[in-house]
Amino acid sequence: MTPRLAEIWVYLAATPLLGLTLTLVAYQAAHWLYRRAGMNPWANPVAIAVAIIIFLLWLTNTPYRRYFEGAQFVHFLLGPATVALALPLYAQMQRLLRMAGPLSLALLAGSLTAVGSAMATGALFGASSATIMSLAPKSVTTPIAMGIAEKIGGLPSLTAVLVVTTGILGAVMGRSILNLLRVEDPAVRGFATGVAAHGIGTARAFQESEVAGAFSALAMGLNGVLTAVLLPYLVHLFSRL
């Protein structure tokens, strides 16, 4: 770099502009690739965008903390976006009320499976206690999961990463698993995706259909609440095994 360029870099690196712009550019590049790949779930835009950002942070030797100073504006929108999920829920209200009983039972089964199998598999293969506690809430959307992790002795920032990984995996594999099981009802497909893979799964479900998206959004919201309430008790139980 010439001295002049280096000066500009030092100036820009200190402002939030760079982190924010990088996030938006990386995501749009990833989304362009995703569309080019015919919206194939394997070309997951979150995974690609994260990979681009990691590479550029590594290349420019930028610490994550500095990147996040800009990216936090995007991260912050998770809050209002969660509130906005009320709209697809409202649009499906009649169906939701009609299916309330089965949905509650399926939610309970799915939520317990998510937490139990994550903790058990982690423990079985020798994960440390802090890692197991960070894994436990990984099926729940980021802001909720981070809050839970903090309460039960996990690492909130690690949980955030595991949440995103889970969401990507769920969005990538969901279609194949559901096709394999011959699950056809879009409401059922969406609901299962939302319980397992929160917002990233929901984004994918909205691409399958409006109904799948709404049920995924519902499942994501309900699972967030249920896990937040249940997990502290489950952890207590787990620690006594």
Binding site: Y64, V74, A81, L158
Partner: protein, 117 residues
């Protein structure tokens, strides 16, 4: 768009205040979502503006997870040590959760349909 964004933020704020005040285990935005849902039910649906703004936000829901995902850089050391249990845990749990939830729900819905018939 501005009015709609304000509404969303107000509901989130309402949720956060109640969570802090009452010490609830639920995160503020989730409570805000529940309140907005109730408000929509009471009012008989969203305004066109709120509908459009929410659509825009939800269409790009994936984008909002990107900053948290890039946080993986902070945890490379731990992931290096524990990558196998972490990967297996996330993989097994995600597959099982999708399978169990969808099969239970399908079973219950079918069961109910045959009962009604």
């Amino acid at each position: 768009m501005l009015a709609a964004l304000t509404i969303l933020l107000l509901f989130q704020l309402l949720g956060e205040i109640l969570v802090q005040w009452l010490g609830l285990p639920v995160p503020g935005p989730v409570l805000g979502m529940i309140f907005l849902f109730l408000a929509l039910a009471w009012r008989g649906g969203p305004s066109e503006e709120l509908r459009q703004t929410s659509n825009t936000l939800l269409q790009h829901l994936s984008l909002l997870f990107v900053p948290a995902g890039a946080g993986i850089t902070v945890h490379f050391a731990r992931l290096g040590d524990e990558w196998l249990p972490i990967l297996l845990s996330v993989l097994v749990s995600t597959v099982l959760t999708i399978a169990v939830t969808s099969l239970v729900l399908r079973f219950l819905l079918r069961h109910r349909k045959t009962e009604e018939a």
